[in-house]
Symmetry: D2
Subunit: 294 residues, 4 copies
Amino acid sequence: MEALSLDDLNAADEAAFLAALGGIYEHSPWVAEAVMPQRPFASLAALHEAMVAAVRKAGGERQMALIRAHPDLAGKAARAGTLTADSTAEQASAGLDQLSDDEYPRFQTLNANYQAKFGFPFIICVRRHTKDSILRQFRHRLENDPDHERAAALAEIRHIAALRLDQRFADAGLGLNGRLSTHVLDTYAGRPAQGLWIALRELSDYDAPQLIARVATNADGRTDAPLIHGRPVPIGRYELLFAVGDYFADCGVPLPDPPFLDVVPVRFAVSEPEGHYHVPLLVSPWSYSTYRGS
Amino acid sequence: MEALSLDDLNAADEAAFLAALGGIYEHSPWVAEAVMPQRPFASLAALHEAMVAAVRKAGGERQMALIRAHPDLAGKAARAGTLTADSTAEQASAGLDQLSDDEYPRFQTLNANYQAKFGFPFIICVRRHTKDSILRQFRHRLENDPDHERAAALAEIRHIAALRLDQRFADAGLGLNGRLSTHVLDTYAGRPAQGLWIALRELSDYDAPQLIARVATNADGRTDAPLIHGRPVPIGRYELLFAVGDYFADCGVPLPDPPFLDVVPVRFAVSEPEGHYHVPLLVSPWSYSTYRGS
Amino acid sequence: MEALSLDDLNAADEAAFLAALGGIYEHSPWVAEAVMPQRPFASLAALHEAMVAAVRKAGGERQMALIRAHPDLAGKAARAGTLTADSTAEQASAGLDQLSDDEYPRFQTLNANYQAKFGFPFIICVRRHTKDSILRQFRHRLENDPDHERAAALAEIRHIAALRLDQRFADAGLGLNGRLSTHVLDTYAGRPAQGLWIALRELSDYDAPQLIARVATNADGRTDAPLIHGRPVPIGRYELLFAVGDYFADCGVPLPDPPFLDVVPVRFAVSEPEGHYHVPLLVSPWSYSTYRGS
Amino acid sequence: MEALSLDDLNAADEAAFLAALGGIYEHSPWVAEAVMPQRPFASLAALHEAMVAAVRKAGGERQMALIRAHPDLAGKAARAGTLTADSTAEQASAGLDQLSDDEYPRFQTLNANYQAKFGFPFIICVRRHTKDSILRQFRHRLENDPDHERAAALAEIRHIAALRLDQRFADAGLGLNGRLSTHVLDTYAGRPAQGLWIALRELSDYDAPQLIARVATNADGRTDAPLIHGRPVPIGRYELLFAVGDYFADCGVPLPDPPFLDVVPVRFAVSEPEGHYHVPLLVSPWSYSTYRGS
């Protein structure tokens, strides 16, 4: 879908306006309709606030209808290919479109238990999560009481709408992009470590680690682009693997056999998808440090 | 076997002397016989040197006979239970008595290839190695030329004899014991981390990690005893797992959900079995350092 | 003075008992008299507790007499050489016997102001302080109200009595000894840094730094003895200077001219004189870490 | 002086060309004359290379005249105000225009000794040095043999000319600017340390430390601008002082009295004036690390 501009939206006729914003809230074009008279919007943030306010003012019944308009996660609609384009892309972002044969029933059971308890589908802003954290949230939220859970569903819908808006418009965004980056300093030679291979993996309690990126450091000891950027960093657990042994061997540093340090793993979790996670490594053949930097 | 004293040995009659030392070199009591007239030995080190010198002076033919007197690693004799007591205990120390169904043929193939190339069995001082490094050495040494490999076999026999002597005598030893220890400093509170769970695992290219120790730190942030001590630290690759997330949560430190650091893995290799490996962790909820200490 | 034993004290006649303990409380043998009937004392701690209890039960008037029995710090009695032996040694421990020409009037002014405000001399357990922290305490306590200050004086007298007891007896002590130690790890070579020169200096707001120790590290990267031990570590500010540049140059490590790191200063403060302060340095030619260890 | 452009220079008449470049080499407009016919110059680097080549081809006699055209450092011409504008600014950059009463004779003695030994003035590219390193170089180079020293003088003249060119033109420069920066990470809270005061001081064997910058960190834990940038970082020794104790106290972190860490000093040397020196601090109330970063 081509990126829109706020100027175009402010000038659009009703049909074009609804075509642009009708899908921001899943199967609920009434939210777009409600804010149409408030044009022009000075910023994407103003538009987003207006839509959030429209949902808030719509009252409990319409809010519940909005919640119920959402599909199951990895559910029958997804399998049948009848999701909205947004939902399809979102569920794919966490790999929910490619569940293995024992993952699929796990989701079905959770969906069924959730529907049975609350009477509406489990909603989560998938783009802000890894599959692992979706499953953790699913289990965790099943223990909530209905009022709390209704509020949780609406909060997730706000996140979903914000990200859909942010992606649809070319204008200055809503500040929803996080960043995950690294940097390797060679404290043996006192310079950035160049040509050191790094792998980033997503960890899961339910599955093998999944490779997200594999890249060598540049002359500044960094990766040419952040490992994750231009989108939220999904909540979840990660592992960086640094090929320290190969790097120092390539530098001609004398090392024991086997080297004291070879592949150095750094495991950490992301809890703020909109945050900047800089996870550097300061390393000699005999020591290393890591920390959450900025 | 009850520990001997050097005084007893120096005073023993011939039969008792040979009973004590006949097995230091595998199926080769002639080494003990050769040093018997040199009594008294002032120290275990002097006895060891005398035996090493006897092998050196014995010449190539007897040295080859000594080499050939050794059993295959994880071979038929081991399966049949016909190894010497020393060999049985040694092979068990690296788990060679408990190979899985796909490990056993791996060893048989390597044994056969080695015998075919060199005409004598592959000898390695098992107590100085993990199963993983034995397999690496096996593969590596298969590429040697025969002269180099003959020297390698005699060097391993020296190690084996030294360790057998060291274990048999209650006297001051030969300095063959290494040590692996750790220490956790809490840099958030500025004190040793008490009650932090640590696991030590042996890593392998061929197998799942194997748990060696699991223990909580004491009031000084250390384990009550070193993780490995009183014996060589087997050459190989290890992983320490530090339950940092649980520790800080137990301390009441405010943490994100999930915590930035949870289980911190530190992977390192041992290349000097007689060395001291102190691998500490300095850790806050947001940073850590590790290094080879002393 | 020869060290006493508790056994001797328990068996001593009255005169000997008072000779031994009469000076534990400055010019106040009545405290020793009060506890004499409670013999035998099972431990030094029991004796100390008994004396503390005797002071507590003696009531406000006698407590004030006890307070007033103490000399001024660096006062006329000290100059005239009429202090008790204990007070003389104590004041010397922080260098109060060697004040410079501008320090002496500083103390006289503070003494006069303190006497004028509270009507009794300023008391502090000098062995637990540096000259710098004594001056800070002096200024700080001048701002107290009289009740608070009376309690502070009695607390200091307890410390003084405990340390005098601890030094007078050969028996197991009262746990009043702190320790200050260091350790240098060379993270370039992965081993303890041997032969690295270290200086320990006491810092002051009022004076030039004062050298306390200068020593080279041994093969384990430590000093042969802790830098301060066998006594409280005086409250105050310190600086460790590590001659890192010379060390790496001596090791033949290639370094820029001038080297990035040369003399590395580590400044820290001691607030618990009875604590263990281990302040190590992990250092390469391009990086270092330090922390309060244990 | 207004910045020039290479385009203007390429189009200038002879008088304007010489006005622009005549002073690049001290009192030696012949270098500019020699390269005038080679116009147009495609880049500042090409112009610089042409001038360097002109000096190289001019032969030993003219080179010696060029060397002799330079003034003494902090010499009579400087006192009399008869230096070229460039030389005046350069000598001021290292504080040579503000020598104290005991520094001035030190320079005169060195100048005299140097002239006596070599027959020409001591030349150093002052903008690449601190006063301390100028004095060290002075002493060091006095020990050279004449050939070596002649080459050293010409090398310094190349540096001086390059920096004069770089400053005179608005075009893309010669890459002569270094950078000194810092960054403070709070490993207690897992975020950049904001509002932490930092002082940068230049150290000297001959003088008290001299304050260069004093600034508080911003929300990213950095200073708004690098501490030194847009020019070479003078070779010399520096000290960063980080007000760590005040920072953590302001954050409400519970600290002992006095705090274990208060003002943390980090001393380091710069040996490559064109390099990037990033000297960060990772700090908790009980630990810190620093390193040469990038």
